[in-house]
């Protein structure tokens, strides 16, 4: 296993939490009820905290003196390694919570597996994050159920959100050469192995939510490899990175 591959893997973990944390933070002050404003900010905070750990370690492994902030604020789109799902726009609250649940469910399984990683630092970050993500998945799952099994309008909107986001689920489970090296070194699981647990839990929640999982195995790809992000990511970075780019000599 090369350090390059480990760096790449750590960027995948950190970019997922960075990009999703950013998206969730866009809700600040605009949520449907006060409790949701608080919960969304809380989720975003957890994700940003996890980003600091993943990208911090990525910078150390890379050994070029780049900090977590350098990685977050000074890379361009093609160097981001997050999956396409997390960069999708917020849409309505239902779409945001559906995106969250689809991610959380994978995230939890991934972190559980990483808690037993052969790499001590990876295991430590995962063990800390898993407690937070346990709560995320509980909350997003409850919200998906509540809105799916709510009024006919909330049901309609949640089904539309699931239909829209479903093609972005597959990317989380498709292994590539980086995953192969990680799993060979005992650092991370083969993502394909997480799918059965994911599907079983997903089916339970969607049944309770009275929602229908689309009958399609099609999966958009290109986020975690960095090969082809969606157009949305670039716009997000123009905001997120603006101060660092406009005033490169400043410290904040």
């Amino acid at each position: 296993m090369s350090d390059d591959a480990l760096f790449e893997f750590l960027c995948r973990m950190g970019d997922n939490t960075l990009v999703l944390g950013h998206r969730v933070s866009e809700w600040c002050g605009h949520a449907p009820v006060l409790e949701e404003d608080i919960a969304l900010a809380n989720t975003a905070l957890d994700l940003i905290g996890q980003t600091q750990m993943w990208l911090g370690l990525a910078g150390e492994i890379e050994g070029k003196g780049r900090s977590a902030d350098d990685l977050a604020m000074r890379r361009d789109v093609w160097d981001f390694r997050n999956i396409l799902l997390v960069e999708q726009p917020n849409g309505d609250f239902g779409q945001t919570m559906m995106r969250q649940f689809l991610f959380d469910l994978w995230h939890l399984e991934m972190l559980k597996a990483l808690s037993g990683s052969s790499h001590d630092r990876v295991a430590a970050i995962a063990a800390k994050s898993v407690k937070e993500v346990q709560y995320h998945v509980e909350r997003s799952g409850d919200t998906v159920i509540g809105l799916g099994d709510g009024t006919s309008e909330s049901h309609r909107r949640m089904q539309a959100a699931l239909d829209l986001l479903w093609p972005y689920v597959g990317e989380m489970f498709v292994p590539d050469h980086i995953d192969a090296q990680m799993s060979e070194a005992g650092i991370a699981p083969d993502p394909g192995e997480l799918r059965a647990t994911y599907d079983a839990r997903l089916a339970e929640v969607m049944t309770e939510a009275t929602l229908t999982i689309p009958d399609s195995g099609f999966a958009h790809k290109g986020g975690k490899s960095g090969m082809r992000h969606s157009e949305h990511l670039g716009h997000m970075l123009t905001q997120m990175q603006w101060l660092q780019r406009a005033y490169p000599d400043a410290t904040w």
Binding site: L18, H22, S25, E26, C28, G29, H30, A31, P32, V33, L34, E35, E36, D37, I38, A41, N42, A44, L45, I48, G49, T51, Q52, L55, A68, D69, A72, M73, D92, F93, G94, T143, I145, G146, L147, D149, G150, T151, E153, S154, H155, R157, Q239, M240, W242, L243, Q244, Y247, D249, A250, T251, W252
Partner: protein
């Protein structure tokens, strides 16, 4: 100070009951929700606590404006935590108001249709990152001036909410000052942003305390009831005396050429803010009134299907539970 110009209600009730009530307040006792209270006390408190709660909620917007542009991950996390605290403050305060017999939804409707106000300060825009510093340092600093004494207010739930809120506000003010320090000691552009933020937020911060006591008709009754603990001018003076040395330490200039130390009174003499501007802002003509209310209305309207959906689900679930029993 997140409640401005709260109209105090005259009260016409049994003089004996009123005297006993006043004696309890004078003795420093707390009034609790189930205790007898004059109708005017209840109404004034609902207005004041409601206005304070609304200020916390609308106050999320000018800072939320910079969360997605925060320059580092740490600054982003701190700002998120701060704005989250503000939503939490809104929640405590709405709960305190609910003990007086008004629901959160009723209060929200009154904010959204303009029947209730929020603090004038949140109608000013946040234009650079230094504004996040200035808001914490000056706006939270001004709020603390008023909120610290309110921990001793006569209404129990309000007092207890204030105790929790004050702990968090002092952290907010420190983080704001920390941003200002970084900016004031940073590159020439950062220093310029810091000075510009102080220039724009100085007078609006002074306005937060409300008009001068001589023009404030609501003070006497509220002070007797210990709903208001200090006069507007007392608090404004205290704020200026505390803030001017902090600005000097930062190497920034307070935008007031008349500012001088007055040895005799042991405080600064300073220029009054433009009260005409203040009343315009209160009337809805501040730089951001339209956007702020529109944003809150949009959040509420767009969120209706979510609230309805979750409520419908909760009802279905309890029906199923009853059916199963």
């Amino acid at each position: 100070m997140y409640a401005q110009m709260v109209k105090s209600e005259a009260t016409q009730e049994d003089p004996e009951k009123l005297a006993t009530f006043q004696a309890r307040i004078d003795a420093g006792e707390k009034i609790e929700p189930k205790d007898w209270m004059p109708a005017g006390y209840r109404k004034t408190l609902i207005r004041q606590i409601g206005q304070h709660a609304h200020s916390e909620i609308v106050g999320q917007l000018p800072e939320g404006n910079w969360i997605t542009r925060a320059p580092t991950l740490e600054r982003k996390a701190i700002l998120l935590a701060k704005v989250q605290d503000e939503a939490g403050h809104g929640l405590y305060l709405y709960c305190a108001a609910e003990t007086l017999g008004v629901s959160r939804d009723e209060l929200t409707e009154m904010l959204l249709d303009g029947r209730m106000k929020y603090s004038s300060i949140f109608n000013y825009p946040t234009l650079t990152w230094a504004d996040m510093g200035a808001v914490g340092w000056l706006v939270d600093g001004a709020a603390i001036m008023n909120q610290v004494p309110l921990q001793r207010t006569s209404f129990g739930p309000y007092s207890r909410a204030m105790i929790r809120i004050c702990k968090e506000e002092s952290f907010h003010q420190r983080q704001g000052y920390d941003i200002m320090m970084k900016m004031a000691r940073g590159t020439p552009e950062q220093k310029r942003m810091a000075q510009d933020a102080l220039n724009r937020f100085w007078y609006p911060s002074l306005m937060m305390f409300g008009p001068s006591d001589k023009d404030s008709v609501h003070s006497a009754q509220s002070m007797a009831w210990k709903i208001k603990m200090n006069t507007n001018d007392e608090l404004r003076q205290k704020f200026v005396d505390q803030t001017v040395p902090q600005a000097e330490y930062l190497g920034l200039t307070v935008p007031d050429e008349t500012l001088t130390w007055n040895e005799e009174k042991g405080g600064y003499d300073f220029a009054e803010p433009d009260w005409k501007e203040f009343f315009e802002v209160i009337q809805g003509n501040g730089p951001c009134n339209t956007e702020r209310l529109a944003a809150r209305n949009k959040a509420w309207d767009d969120g209706k299907w979510v609230r309805d959906g979750l409520l419908a689900h909760a009802e279905k679930r309890s029906m199923r539970k009853i059916a199963a029993e």
